[in-house]
Symmetry: C2
Subunit: 645 residues, 2 copies
Amino acid sequence: MRRTIATVSLSGTLPEKLEAIAAARFDGIELFENDFVNYRGSAAQVRAMVADLGLTIDLYQPFRDFEGMPEAQFQRSLDRAERKFDLMQELDVSMVLCCSNTSPLTIDDPELAAAQLHELASRAASRNLRIGFEALAWGRKTNLYGQAWDIVRRADHPHLGLILDSFHTLSLKDDPTGIADIPGHKIFFLQMADAPLLSMDVLQWARHYRSFPGQGQFDMANFLEQVLLAGYTGPLSLEIFNDVFRETPNRRIAVDAMRSLLYLESQVRGSLEAPSAQDSKPDPTKYAEQRERVLQRIELYSPPPLPDIAGLSYIEFAADEASAEAFGKLLQRLGFRRAGKHRSKAVVLYRQGEINLIVNAQPNSFARARFETHGLSVCALAVRTADPERAVGRATAMHSKRYDGPVGPSEQHVPAIVSPGGSLVSFVSSDLGPNGLYEADFVLDDAPEGTAPGAGLEQIDHVALGLAVDQLDTWILFSRAVLGLEPGESLELADPFGLVRSRGLANADRSMRLVLNVSPGQRTRTARTVAAGGGVTFHHIALNCNDIFDTVARMRTNGVRFVPISENYYDDLLTRVDLDQDLLTRMRSAGVLFDRSQAGDYFHIYTESIDDGLFFEVVQRVNAYDGYGATNAPARMASQAQGTA
Amino acid sequence: MRRTIATVSLSGTLPEKLEAIAAARFDGIELFENDFVNYRGSAAQVRAMVADLGLTIDLYQPFRDFEGMPEAQFQRSLDRAERKFDLMQELDVSMVLCCSNTSPLTIDDPELAAAQLHELASRAASRNLRIGFEALAWGRKTNLYGQAWDIVRRADHPHLGLILDSFHTLSLKDDPTGIADIPGHKIFFLQMADAPLLSMDVLQWARHYRSFPGQGQFDMANFLEQVLLAGYTGPLSLEIFNDVFRETPNRRIAVDAMRSLLYLESQVRGSLEAPSAQDSKPDPTKYAEQRERVLQRIELYSPPPLPDIAGLSYIEFAADEASAEAFGKLLQRLGFRRAGKHRSKAVVLYRQGEINLIVNAQPNSFARARFETHGLSVCALAVRTADPERAVGRATAMHSKRYDGPVGPSEQHVPAIVSPGGSLVSFVSSDLGPNGLYEADFVLDDAPEGTAPGAGLEQIDHVALGLAVDQLDTWILFSRAVLGLEPGESLELADPFGLVRSRGLANADRSMRLVLNVSPGQRTRTARTVAAGGGVTFHHIALNCNDIFDTVARMRTNGVRFVPISENYYDDLLTRVDLDQDLLTRMRSAGVLFDRSQAGDYFHIYTESIDDGLFFEVVQRVNAYDGYGATNAPARMASQAQGTA
């Protein structure tokens, strides 16, 4: 499929937008009128610039308030259209988007609308141009694709067709399945826009909150499938009005845009190729025929499959000699033992339960470079998966960058990619035993398991990131399209200096969990650590145990300091939750926080931060509790703002 | 009236909030439960801290999901209430806000709700506590004050009364006039919250977008008037959930909060005292009696009246010697003449038409201090008004700070106040003639008027400010409550690097206009100049003329450089507006932009910026055009991003 994007989706001047679009390997653009009008170059210059970049202009847009108008306005609009046609020919673009009329003058008469569009199409035809008619969700009389199709059908002109936009259909909760019955050649263009589910005025929603497919909550794959089943073979395009995208460096947004289409195509391909896809359809035979036609006519993107993740193998920290020393001592207070030293590098392995933490202070390394810019921080997450090279193949197919670090003689090569913000995600074979990865590279401490009792930590529960506002959608799409994690609900947490929005992502068996935290303001602790980290920072790491009271007691004995929790918290907890008084007393005395869902309970506690940044969380999940104790984050943030005890 | 505020309205830790509230001279607080729960001090400590600051806790809030519940939940809620009563007694607070039930378990039975609230009130009464029942706009069964009053009336317990919140009533477009018929002693508490008119889910609107009275679009004065007419004599309180306030330094927000109440009281007092106020009422006799009772019982704030502004007398710029020299040359290219030099200071007056611009490079002055922190910038706006001292009195009554600068022997004293962000607003008597203000302080150039032809600039049309997001509501309230300007609609302008929101404010005769521009992102030109200006910056100054083509021609001859406008802009203009071809040609060749409203036309052009910051706009208004050419701002911003020609 051809892949195109509207210039309004990106920040920058018109040449900057075009360069970003070409760099992300799009085939063409929709030229948003204002981008041309406000550009100080001629149509001929824009045409040349587009061609030089190997792009085409697939659509000029929008042409507003045309159909169903009184005669005087109709005649003026035809004059207006002729001027636009002149311009389109200068630009070498053959199709214009005509969106349904929002004028209070609109006459509610599909025949009139059809007749006027027929006249417009006739004039366009005389120049070999085409008109695409689209139902805006806030159109005065026409706001559903079914209505727009009725008008196009009545007009019956070969130079007039339908433009579909997933946002306009799905925002009104209209059913897209009827699209599959529209003749494919009458669908001239397709715009795919996702969005979060918001309860607000649809125009405001459309103008400010659209997102790329996979970043929102609409069923994009089903919508695209219906359009393809209809027989559509035109471009797959993105027209995204998003306040944040307008502010974000356009190279990153253009990559997100391309990734979103590739991900969407791969989802639809998977759905179409599923052997039993037709079983659930009302007319399996018809569906099978339509599907066959799609698969024969169109090459949908087919990247390697999503990796099957079996948890985190290790987390690697960037350090220098001094911070590695201090951090190692903290890890030991948390019950980790120094389990090995790298054969050739200043890299130390710490272990507890199934948790591996690597502290990398090797000069002239990737980690050291991260340390120089980010301070002591996570520089890599290593993910266990059946086929690491295939996982990297998936990621690069989704336009993530492969990372190949130096490998010493007889050391393990760990395939890796660069995640948004610059840290690495490495892939480790899940076939390797607990020492499999490390014995090649590390001189392992030969203390038999169990000699150092540790503090009872068993697994990495989740990794929480702090993100700049403009990194959230980037990370959600990366997590879904590259790692196969799925997002949960978005929560708001009150920090004393502003709201923080938090969203968990996890794989199906919950062996890998990320939590993305965003602070729209500048004064929360989250915002300050994000700013210090250049837009993406690893905020805290949560580690699982089976008996949090025992674990915390051991850690306190070792000198670990935790964020103190108000006595009032426990008094209030008793009024909120039906709790055993002894358990409450234990929590109060240990400083442990508590959350309860229908599925289970969650006990947790936070360590004090290292230099006001990174900290650890110790957690214990009971039964199928699936959250992250978000309800308690305000207690933590309020306490952090009150200083150490 | 007692004035109180909910702790949730401000950022910070609980002690920080209390200190800001006391510093802004509130009488008491509503203690928001989470602020107490997450504070690491006991109830006794909070009680002592509040008392030490001279405050009281007038309300504990909220107590949720109580009324109309099945028996089992009701009994548990009574237990929950008893624990809260214990806490209230420790805190020394006698009233709790019980908000209407949002639980899906709620039973739709006002008798049951009344009976359960009666039981709650009886238990409260045994401790001499009181229950205030409030209808949440999103309450499951009770969301209007009329329903809540019906339940309170049925319950008929002296320790149960009504709590009113303007947001919950006005957001649902419910009519507040019925409030005046409720017995005043049964209204226990009053929360005043304003908000912008948004079309969105009411809960989201309420949680994120409320504002102080006078910052939004609800009719606050009418709401308060109804409550006072009912006979209410309790506190006037603010409970404002606002994402931006949560992020803003709490001292400034607390001042805004107090200013909003004083402004509101003064509006209501003015309305009640208007001789003809009863004429429009359905029952003038009843109204007159109620009004009399209010004025006898309650002292509503009575500041000096709003100043009657007769335009801007001068704008003063902060400079040093070098920048004053360069800036003076630019002013001369714009047609200003050097009209005088200050008798004792390094201050120069430039004049053209009725416009006075003062460039202040005096060492060790207020202006020089502003220059050191802000560079070449506006440091004072001087406003013409009949009684400058009364205008300052109004401002200080509204908690603006008076500014008294050094006055030399036989120099004029110009009364002034500090505006948000630190620049001055000076007040000049409108009785003074054109030289009245200046002949005392300046050695005026004795060139008779008219010898220097100038460029045809006549008046200051408007002053545009760039504001940090958290300064917008502060400036709107300051402009209304201190200067008497009224806001127009909020517009969105597309900069190539993010949206900019723009809002004009003007006095009734339009002799003074401000435009407030806010860039939520960090990458627009507006955002960068705002950041450089510390949150408030004077973005550009628009100057009026009567023949823009002549004015621009003269300026170009003088070497003034303007932001170049795309040829495409003019081609597009022709498709949008019915324009004389010759006029379009003149605009195109002059680089002049055009806007048209129902009321008239607007011609304008922007100069290039000084150091990427301040610039001038030359404007010509035709007929009653009342806007600011916002539709053309994207053309300007796009062109600025494309660099100079």
